[in-house]
């Protein structure tokens, strides 16, 4: 197995180096931060809606979505990096040199986690500065775990698409599903206050379970935790297979 970790280390190292030499690596945090400002800033009165009883307040409510958005978008955007590597020929050299190609996927995933740590920290600091209260008893570890799992799942998704398409055409194919998954969820109000078609969509969306559990961790009242972690595990498994499938397609294309 030495080859697997060696390859992963090399890929992760290079990718992380690329991040730190290009300030744009924090870009995935920009949209989430913006939405956080827009929603937590402009919509706090939504917390007055009858039935909205989130203990940590509306700013915290939006912060969790912003955090998960940042780590998910960052994960998926790793796909752009991979697609770029295919277009400039680097990926082909990588596949020829790697003793264990699965290590490539792990490498990109590790690098994505490193970036997610940075962007997640940025969003968190920002939220704290804007006055997000820290509720006693909040489960930091639980929240972070879910964020990590969301990031891994999104990275595997983006990687799979990128390796299948191997060009910048992968961009819209990655962005649109991620956008839908993030928005067809209890973004503005909890699931219990959603109605109509959006409620149905949100209930079917695996991201909803993760989002709601993450919010409950922050409020110090963990709820439906098992469902969230199970959903995350299944997502990661399925998307890992997807990424491997993408790798196989890339190998066949030569």
């Amino acid at each position: 197995m030495g080859g697997f970790f060696q390859v992963a280390g090399a890929v992760a190292g290079r990718q992380v180096y690329k991040y730190f030499t290009n300030p744009a690596f924090l870009a995935p945090a920009l949209f989430p931060l913006f939405f956080f400002v827009a929603f937590a800033g402009g919509l706090t009165r939504v917390g007055d809606v009858p039935g909205f009883d989130y203990a940590a307040g509306y700013i915290a409510f939006q912060y969790v979505w912003a955090l998960l958005q940042a780590v998910s978008m960052g994960g998926a955007f790793t796909g752009f990096s991979i697609a770029g590597d295919f277009e400039n020929g680097f990926a082909r050299r990588l596949m020829l040199a790697a003793s264990n190609r699965y290590g490539i996927i792990l490498g990109y995933t590790i690098a994505s986690l490193v970036r997610a740590t940075m962007t997640g920290t940025l969003v968190t600091v920002f939220a704290l500065i804007t006055g997000m209260p820290i509720i006693g008893g909040f489960d930091f570890f639980g929240l972070i775990s879910l964020a990590v799992l969301a990031n891994i799942a999104a990275t595997l998704f983006g990687a799979g698409v990128a390796m299948m398409l191997r060009t910048q055409q992968a961009g819209p194919v990655i962005r649109t599903p991620i956008f839908l998954v993030l928005f067809l969820a209890p973004v503005f109000v909890p699931l219990s206050l959603l109605t109509g078609w959006l409620e149905t969509a949100a209930r079917l969306n695996p991201f909803t379970a993760i989002l709601e559990a993450a919010r409950s961790f922050l409020a110090g009242d963990p709820t439906n935790v098992l469902a969230a972690f199970t959903t995350s595990a299944i997502l990661i498994l399925v998307l890992a297979l997807w990424a491997v499938y993408g790798l196989r397609r890339a190998e066949r294309a030569g």
Binding site: L30, F31, F34, F35, V37, A38, F39, G41, G42, L43, T44, R45, V46, D48, V49, P50, G51, F52, F183, L184, P186, V187, F188, V189, L193, L194, T195, G196, W197, L198
Partner: protein
Amino acid sequence: MGGPSLLTQVAALARRSTVRTMRQPAVIISALLFPMMFFSINASGLDAASKIPGFPTDSYLDFAFAFPLIQASLFGAVTAGADLARDIESGFFDRLSLTPMRPVALLGGMLAGVVALGLLQGVVFLTIGLLMGVNISSGVGGMFVIVLLTVLVALGFGGIGAILAIRTGSVEAVESAFPLFFVVIFLSSINLPRNLIEQDWFRFVATINPISYLVEGIRSLVITGWDPQALALGFGFALAIVVVAIGGAAASLRTRVV
């Protein structure tokens, strides 16, 4: 060798702008689809907000209807601006500059295309909105005014897009302005009425943001009926943006052409 009239030139360039937009179905579909998608998600997701004490209407759908119209105008402006920047980048602008074309005709042609798309978007969104159950309090007359205001907003944004295109001559620069415009739209009363915005700094920004008045003008026609003050402010700001933006674009053109 006398040059052709300005009208002939604008007509020829407007025809070109319109034809090339119509030949990109992906652009038209995105221009219609994305704002509608966002609107559906927003309207449904924030439906509960209509229960906030003091909310001006029972239907968040009605309240939010201005959103796709404003967002679509922005999208159209960025696309048209990018097209103009592409003309500059590719050298097509130089080719046109070698004719007796007056530079302002190129601007006119581009803006005519923006107006055409804005008109299409206004009509399509109005139709879809009505089918979704939006209730236009100002009736049929109000619908015409909604489309008119939408077109004016599109024209104003189009002018801004043109300024960016002419000054930067870069498609990438114009397209990267899109998120910035997006941000400006959200920092307004687009999601909640200004009096229901709790955070002081946000309410302040929304109050000085001209977009709020464009939104409120359209919104008043939907949820209130005929509100002279809201309409005056809406049209006033729309016209002001149009004048400043198109004036700025025309001035920028002078520095680009020898």
